[in-house]
Symmetry: C2
Subunit: 368 residues, 2 copies
C-alpha cells in the first residue's frame, strides 16, 4: 500500500492511494455495495460513474452468501466482477444497528442471524478472517459503535473495549493486508484523544473516525472531525465513516479527511431526491411533469446525457425500476464529480470558494 500526497492546502490534501496495482484518487467517496452490488447498479455502471472504490460489508456478506462461495471465486472482486478497489467494513456498525438483540462481551458481539436465526459470535478475529478471505483491498478493525447520547463512563468503557479489539484485529491480520484503525470516544474530546493516540501507537495503515452520524447534532459532528482529523498521521489515509451530505464531505475535506462512505446518494436516489449543480431536485415535484430538460444540464452522467427529467418522473410514477436505476446513476456520478471538484479546488487553492458555492446550493435542502 502506497499513499502519495500530491497537493495540500491548509489541512486538506490531494493524494493517490495504491493497493494491489489499483490506484484511487483522494479525497474519495466510496459508494455502498453492501451485498456485493451497489443497489440497482452493476460493476460497469460504477465504472461509467467514474467510481474507483466501493465499500462492502463483511458482516452482511458473511451471513449472505457466506465466505465459502466468495472464496471459490477468488474473492469479492471476481464474485461481483469489479476490478476497482474495495474497502470492507468490519461489521461493528452493523452489529450496532441490530440494537438490543446483541450481547457484547469482551470476547465479541453475539447475536442471531436475521436470516436464519443461527447464533453468531462476531469477534475481531472472525471479522479479519472474513475480510481476508473475501480478499478485500482495505480492511477495517472490528470495533463497538455506541448510540448517541451515551454518558462518559459508558463511552469510555466502550472505547477501551474497541481499543482491545483493535489490537486483536491487528494481531489476527495473518496476511498483513492494509488495515485501518477506527477512533471512537463519542462526543468527548478527551476520550477521542485517548483512542486516537492509542491507535496511532498501534501503527495502522490508515485511520478512521467512527461513531459519527449516529444521531448527534451536525455541529457536534463537525467539531469531532475538526478536532481529530488533522491530528491523525499526515502520511496515512484518513477516513470519516458514514457521512455524508455534500457539505459534510466538503467541511471534512477542509479538515483534512481523505475518504468517505454514505448511503445518501444511492438511498436518496431511490426516493427521488437528486443532487444537482444548482441544489436538490425532488423528482416527485409537479414542476418536472412537463420538463424536457435532463436532471441537470451541467451533468455529464449517462442519465443526463440520454433522458429527460419528465421521462424519469413518469417512470417513477409508474413504479418502473428503471427510474431508481437512472436516478442512482445520476447521484453516484454527482458524488464522484463532487470529489473531483474538491480535489481540483485543493490543487488550485480555491477550496473556500468552492465550499461557498456548495453552501449556496446545499445549506438548506431546497424543495425547489
Amino acid at each position: 500500500m502506497k499513499f502519495s500526497i500530491k497537493n495540500t492546502h491548509k489541512h486538506s490534501r490531494v493524494a493517490s492511494l495504491t493497493i494491489n496495482n489499483k490506484t484511487i484518487n483522494t479525497p474519495a467517496f466510496m459508494t455502498i455495495g453492501t451485498y456485493g452490488a451497489v443497489k440497482t447498479m452493476d460493476s460497469s455502471d460504477l465504472k461509467k460513474c467514474k467510481a474507483e472504490i466501493i465499500l462492502s460489508n463483511a458482516f452482511h456478506l458473511m451471513l449472505r452468501p457466506g465466505v465459502n462461495l466468495i472464496q471459490k471465486f477468488g474473492g469479492l472482486h471476481e464474485f461481483m466482477n469489479w476490478d476497482g478497489m474495495i474497502l470492507t467494513d468490519s461489521g461493528g456498525y452493523q452489529v450496532f444497528s441490530l440494537g438490543k438483540d446483541v450481547k457484547i462481551t469482551n470476547k465479541g458481539a453475539e447475536f442471531r442471524s436475521p436470516f436464519n436465526g443461527d447464533r453468531v459470535l462476531m469477534t475481531p478475529e472472525l471479522s479479519i478472517d472474513v475480510q481476508t478471505k473475501i480478499n478485500t483491498d482495505i480492511m477495517m478493525i472490528f470495533d463497538e459503535c455506541i448510540k448517541y447520547p451515551s454518558d462518559m463512563s459508558t463511552t469510555d468503557k466502550s472505547m477501551e473495549l474497541s481499543l482491545r479489539w483493535a489490537e486483536r484485529s491487528k494481531q489476527s491480520n495473518y496476511l498483513s493486508k492494509p488495515l485501518f484503525g477506527i477512533v471512537q470516544g463519542g462526543m468527548y474530546p478527551e476520550l477521542r484523544e485517548k483512542s486516537r493516540e492509542a491507535l496511532i501507537d498501534m501503527e495502522f495503515d490508515g485511520y478512521a473516525l467512527g461513531g459519527l452520524s449516529v444521531g448527534e447534532p451536525t455541529d457536534l459532528m463537525y467539531e469531532v472531525i475538526d478536532e481529530n482529523a488533522h491530528k491523525l498521521p499526515t502520511n496515512k489515509p484518513r477516513y470519516v465513516m458514514g457521512i455524508g451530505k455534500p457539505l459534510d464531505i466538503a467541511y471534512a475535506v477542509r479538515a483534512g479527511v481523505d475518504m468517505f462512505d454514505c448511503v445518501i446518494p444511492t438511498r436518496n436516489a431511490r426516493n427521488g431526491q437528486l443532487f444537482t449543480s444548482t441544489g436538490i431536485k425532488r423528482i416527485r415535484n409537479a414542476k418536472y411533469t412537463n420538463d424536457l430538460s435532463p436532471i441537470d444540464e451541467q451533468c455529464e452522467c449517462y442519465t443526463c446525457k440520454n433522458f429527460s427529467i419528465s421521462y424519469i418522473k413518469h417512470l417513477d410514477r409508474c413504479n418502473e425500476i428503471l427510474a431508481a436505476r437512472l436516478m442512482t446513476i445520476h447521484n453516484v456520478y454527482f458524488y464522484q464529480n463532487l470529489m473531483m471538484e474538491l480535489r481540483n479546488a485543493i490543487i488550485s487553492s480555491s477550496l473556500d470558494d468552492y465550499i461557498a458555492q456548495l453552501e449556496r446550493n446545499f445549506r438548506e435542502v431546497k424543495n425547489d
Copy 2:
C-alpha cells in the same frame, strides 16, 4: 412501409420490414415496454440484447403520462430515447383486462381511469389519434377482445363490433400510418374466417390474430393459428398477439407468422425463470447456490458474459434490483436469439429439426 420476403420454407418465411428508414428482420419478437420502458431496462440495454422493435401500449401511455407530454418530445421514440421500431397496441386488450368495470357500446369502451378515477371513453378514433400523436411506427386497430370461453352468439356479435371498429380505425387514420387489422372470432373457425376475409377486404398494412392466449387450451390456440395464419395475405406481415413460450412461437412461425409479443421473457425473468439453450433454469433452485458458471454457457448476453448464476442467485435472495435486471437482460437476449435461430432454420430449410430441439428443451417446463 415495405415488407420484403427473402426466404420461405413451406408456410414459414424470413422477411424484412422497413418503416420510416428503420428495418427489422422477421420473424420478430417484440419485447413489451408498456409505459415506454421495458421493465428494468433502458433503450441501450435493448440494443445490447439485439432488439429491433418493441411493443408499447397506447392505452397506458394515454393515461400516464398522457399524449401531450410525449407529443412535446416529438414522439415516444424521443421520450424514451429509442431509435428502433415501435408497434403500439391500441388498447383493446387492455380494456378487456379491466374486466367488469368496462361498458362496451357501439361507440366505444367506457371506463374509469384506474389512476385518477376520470371517466374515459376509448373509441377507435381516439385510439388512432393517440397512436398517431405518440408517433408510433405501427398502429393496431381498436378492437374488442372477449374472454374464453364465450358462446358463439356472443363471439359473433363481438367480432362484428370489432369489424365496425376496424373500419372506423382505418377511416380515422388521418396520416395514413401503417395500420394492422386484428382477426377476432374466438375459437369458432367460421367466425375467424368471416373476420379474416372482411379485414382482408379492408386492406390493412398487416394482419394480427387477436383474442388468443386468453385462457384457452394450448392445442386450441395452435389450431386457430394453423388454420388462419397462412390464409392471411402472403405479401403483408402476420402477427399473433400475446404469445408466447419458445415452442408456441416456433409452431406459429412454422404456420407462417412473422411477429410476436409477450410478457413471458420479462415477467418470468423477474420471477427467476430463465430460458437457456438446455431448457428452463429457476434461479431459486438450491443447486445454483455454489455454481460459478453463467446462466448459460452458450449465451452471449451481457449477463452471461459478466456474471455467474450464483452471484445472481445471491442478489435475488437479497432482493437486490440488479438481479431482476440481469435476468431480464438474459431472457430478452434469449428471445432475440431464438428469433435469429428460427430465421436461420427457415433459410437452411431445417425448421423441423430446430423445432425438435426446442421440443426437447421446452416441451415440459423443466424444473431442472
